[in-house]
Subunit: 257 residues, 2 copies
């Protein structure tokens, strides 16, 4: 058997493997408690291929995201998760997004994960390559994802493969009660709202950058206070020195200069 | 006629209005040159309702994003764009996304736009309310969007309606040549790659935060330099003062104390 890794779309038979990988990733992230996902919720919400050779979107069941599984056919790793065609070494879970400037879809990578024992073999690159290929196949113009800003190694790797950081953008999220209450408040009070939507005509705002000179008031105030403290200290020293000088001068013929 | 604004899904008949709004937004953003979108590309890629009362996703044509149009039926505004039911005052263009921790879809708002002459009437809130409602209807758990980090007014408003900033996340994007070359390099060289995927097992990285104490070396170095400058100046003053003092002392009986 070949040990050449395979990338294929996850099927309904793979939901236990997907959930395993989601939870293993969450354990690494110290966030297992945040995972509400179940095999049933994955079955209900993910999109799976209707046939083994599914390619176009119409060959997939309705759903909100699809999953590439990375399979190592002849692996020495004996633990779960296993698929019919080998060990499940990783996944890339993704959905399509949209660019109004391109008038075209793109692909958003929600989770890229390679299991510990399969790392350092280029598998992450292989999954990204499959995503890039899928993006192009869809007529998409962009492959996008997010990374924590302190995950320096990942950011370095992503930039090395040509990814560009969108550092000027901040993501915003409403969920839970805020989501439901925003729905209620918005639909009830729309006629009463005024004046609070200034400059909200775009969630993107302007791409014209603000002046590059950034005045950080608090920072300079802090420095100023330190300078003043320095002067005050120096003045005090001067006063003390003057007193000593006066004292010295009064008792001896000592001169500084 | 009522001037109560209406929010409805854009149909194929509205693509010229959508393109108008995309371009007006791009003009505001000084980025009209970046808009490659055409009426045809919108027709080819957006999802439109098959019937006027379409609700569930199966009632829509295949596509990558949907658009809520904000219509003001009895507007005084005479300019384009007009729809059969009134003036097109704004839009919210969105697509579904996915959370692996929730095992559920969400809604991502790509563009929120209200035309200049229709602002300060709560229309942005109305559109956000419609999106929140749609999110809940889809069984979604999150409504998300992005905002430029210096668009302070928008950020303030978004936080006032319960949106939470995802400041620790950096968006990454590959497009154009980088997208195509990453595809090529990935599929060709997967067996040759090693060692460069360390800590890349998640595009999200760990949610465990880095230490909260932030030492900003450059900032404190700057302050220190200013303090030293302060002391140097004080020392110079002291030297001058000493010289004057010596001079005064030598020519008269003047004493400081």
């Amino acid at each position: 058997m070949s040990d050449q890794p395979i990338i294929r779309f996850a099927t309904k038979d793979d939901v236990s493997s997907i959930l395993f990988l989601i939870k293993e990733l969450a354990i690494f992230e110290n966030a297992l408690d945040s995972v509400e996902t179940t095999e049933q919720s994955l079955l209900d919400t993910l999109s799976f291929p209707n046939t083994p050779d599914a390619v176009s979107l119409s060959d997939f069941s309705p759903g909100f995201a699809r999953t590439f599984l990375l399979i190592v056919p002849n692996s020495n790793v004996t633990d779960v998760p296993k698929a019919h065609d080998g060990s499940v070494a990783g996944m890339a879970l993704f959905f399509t997004n949209y660019s109004t400037w391109r008038g075209a879809p793109g692909v958003y990578l929600e989770d890229l994960y390679v299991r510990q024992q399969f790392r350092r073999k280029g598998h992450a690159r292989l999954l990204l390559g499959a995503l890039a290929k899928e993006t192009i196949r869809l007529g998409g113009k962009r492959l996008e994802w997010s990374c924590l800003n302190w995950n320096v190694n990942a950011l370095k790797f992503y930039e090395s493969i040509g990814a560009v950081k969108q550092s000027e953008w901040i993501g915003l999220r409403t969920d839970g009660e805020a989501l439901e209450s925003s729905f209620l408040c918005c639909t009830r009070t729309v006629k009463d709202q005024s004046g609070s939507t200034t400059n909200l005509h775009s969630s993107r705002g302007s791409t014209k950058p603000p002046p590059t000179f950034e005045y950080d008031g608090q920072r300079y105030l802090g420095c100023l206070q330190r300078i003043i403290s320095g002067f005050q200290l120096a003045r005090s020293c001067l006063a003390v020195y003057s007193q000593i000088w006066t004292l010295k001068n009064s008792v001896s013929g000592f001169r500084l200069l």
